[in-house]
């Protein structure tokens, strides 16, 4: 029960973090969505550059999904704000609670922002690039997108629990992870394009499995493979999230023992 209450308070705080960046949803639409749309458009036009409408479609679906995952990744940076800017981190560590519900709550807003980003990008890019979609796709694809964001949240939580101890590296860690996922997880080229060892890495990362399911959905292939991809995506996300929670608890407890709470 206490954990739920902590989660709730921390989530409220996370919402306030969000309002530091965007004070209203109109501002969010006018700044964030413009940025996201133009970034996606730049990548999609790469398909026109190589004169392949098929690749335009491929890049479009990839961008819709990866942008959600990337913005969910703000979770990594959110892990460090207490200690970098506010100085409240020692108090959190000193309190008797685990830091897991605190951080889950504090960063959950960035998962919601990631999902909203993907949905809006999908709704804008589909008509702009005249991609044919059916009602069934409009119902299922956003759900699958949300799952990919949730699974990416698991990875971001893991990275965040480590970056928590080297906060200066927050942006480079988040950006590098995002770029690696965009490059190898089937966002810009099929995963099979890469050497086998790179494919193995891609299979252990979020996005890869969920995106392949979304591609099948978009191609009107409602097969068992879709389900397999969805299950794998969820499993990958849960493993990363569990790992993150474990690392966070272990490192925080170690710091409690040695008293090295704010010595970074």
């Amino acid at each position: 029960m206490t954990s739920f209450r902590i989660f709730g308070h921390a989530a409220h705080l996370g919402f306030q973090d969000f309002r530091v960046f965007w004070t209203s949803w109109r501002m969010w639409l006018g700044t964030h969505v413009v940025r996201v749309f133009t970034t996606a458009a730049m990548w999609i036009l790469l398909g026109r550059l190589v004169e392949s409408e098929e690749h335009v479609r491929f890049l479009l679906i990839g961008q819709v999904v990866i942008l959600g995952a990337q913005y969910t990744g703000w979770t990594v940076a959110a892990f460090t704000w207490d200690r970098m800017f506010i100085g409240t981190y020692p108090m959190l560590v000193a309190s008797p609670s685990s830091l897991v519900p605190v951080m889950l709550g504090r960063t959950s807003i960035w998962l919601l922002n990631g999902i909203a980003t993907s949905w809006v990008t999908f709704l804008i890019l589909v008509p702009v690039f005249r991609l044919p979609v059916s009602v069934t796709q409009i119902l299922w694809v956003p759900l699958a997108i949300s799952l990919v964001c949730a699974s990416s949240y698991g990875l971001a939580f893991s990275i965040g629990s480590i970056i928590n101890w080297v906060p200066r590296l927050r942006n480079i860690a988040h950006n590098t992870a995002s770029i690696v996922m965009m490059t190898i997880c089937g966002v810009v080229v099929p995963v099979a394009f890469w050497p086998e060892w790179v494919q193995t890495v891609a299979f252990a990362l979020p996005v890869t499995h969920g995106l392949s399911s979304i591609r099948l959905l978009m191609a009107d292939e409602f097969t068992d493979e879709v389900l397999v991809g969805v299950v794998l995506e969820a499993a990958v996300g849960l493993v990363w999230l569990g790992l993150g929670a474990l690392i966070l608890d272990r490192t925080v407890n170690a710091a409690r023992r040695t008293g090295a709470i704010d010595l970074i």
Partner: protein
């Protein structure tokens, strides 16, 4: 006298950046995106366009360094309570400020080197530079134009967190309309005229031409366009900046 000042400021900035290496992280991450672009090009059998990815990498690195990292200098000086000292000194403040932004923007050049190495090491693609002098001239003018235009953003950054949100949002349209990755001719016709008002458009087209074996046309005119647009941005920035500084001096709030 001026030279001594500039050399001193350059040395100071290098020391400050060494203490604050996070400032350089964009130069490590931005060129990495060229791997994704190169993958698309190789997958489609268009390795001949590999130079496009390099051009995007360097322009986005320089852009990031001038419009984001360099533009934080003024806000940081206020926060660190050092603005009063510099403004009170007999030098015009814009000289050390611009010098510092130029130093940071120049570091963005490393983006080109990194992307070139990436293309070579990961994809085995060697991007030939057919007109090195043109590359050098274009990059030098781009850094200059970016740095003076950054006076606008430097000033805006002094107005709190939300201005950064707006500023951040501008990067997307700027790079898309500037055609840094995909040439503007692939954009809808009605937006193309706007691109010509962005100095990055001229930089991108010139750099892509400089990597091709053919003889580039109207070079001086196009370099002049970068210079003119940079001058226009710089003028606007200088007016905004001097008004801000005047306001802060009058109100006695330089460090608040």
């Amino acid at each position: 006298m001026l030279l001594r000042l500039v050399v001193g400021v350059v040395r100071a900035q290098i020391q400050m950046t060494r203490r604050n290496v996070e400032d350089l992280f964009p130069i490590i991450t931005i060129p990495l995106t060229s791997a994704a672009a190169l993958a698309v090009l190789e997958y489609s059998g268009r390795e001949d366009l590999a130079g496009y990815a390099l051009v995007a990498a360097v322009l986005m690195s320089v852009g990031q360094m001038s419009f984001f990292v360099g533009s934080e200098i003024l806000a940081n000086e206020r926060e660190g309570q050092t603005l009063e000292l510099v403004v009170a000194s007999p030098t015009e403040y814009y000289i050390p400020l611009l010098t510092r932004i130029i130093v940071l923007s120049s570091v963005g050049l490393l983006g080109f080197v990194e992307a070139w190495i990436l293309a070579r090491a990961v994809f085995g693609l060697t991007v030939a530079i057919h007109h090195p002098a043109l590359v050098a001239a274009t990059l030098a003018l781009t850094i200059l134009a970016g740095s003076v235009t950054a006076l606008i953003t430097s000033t805006l950054f002094c107005f709190g967190r939300t201005t950064r949100t707006y500023q951040n949002a501008i990067a997307g349209p700027l790079y898309l309309l500037g055609g840094v990755l995909v040439p503007v001719s692939y954009l809808p016709d009605f937006v193309q005229p706007f691109s010509r008002l962005i100095f990055l458009f001229w930089s991108a087209e010139l750099l892509r031409d400089a990597l091709e074996p053919g003889r580039p046309e109207d070079v001086l005119l196009r370099l002049g366009a970068i210079l003119a647009l940079g001058a226009a941005g710089g003028l606007a920035g200088a007016i905004l900046f001097s008004r801000l500084l005047g306001h802060l001096r009058r109100e006695g709030t330089l460090g608040i």
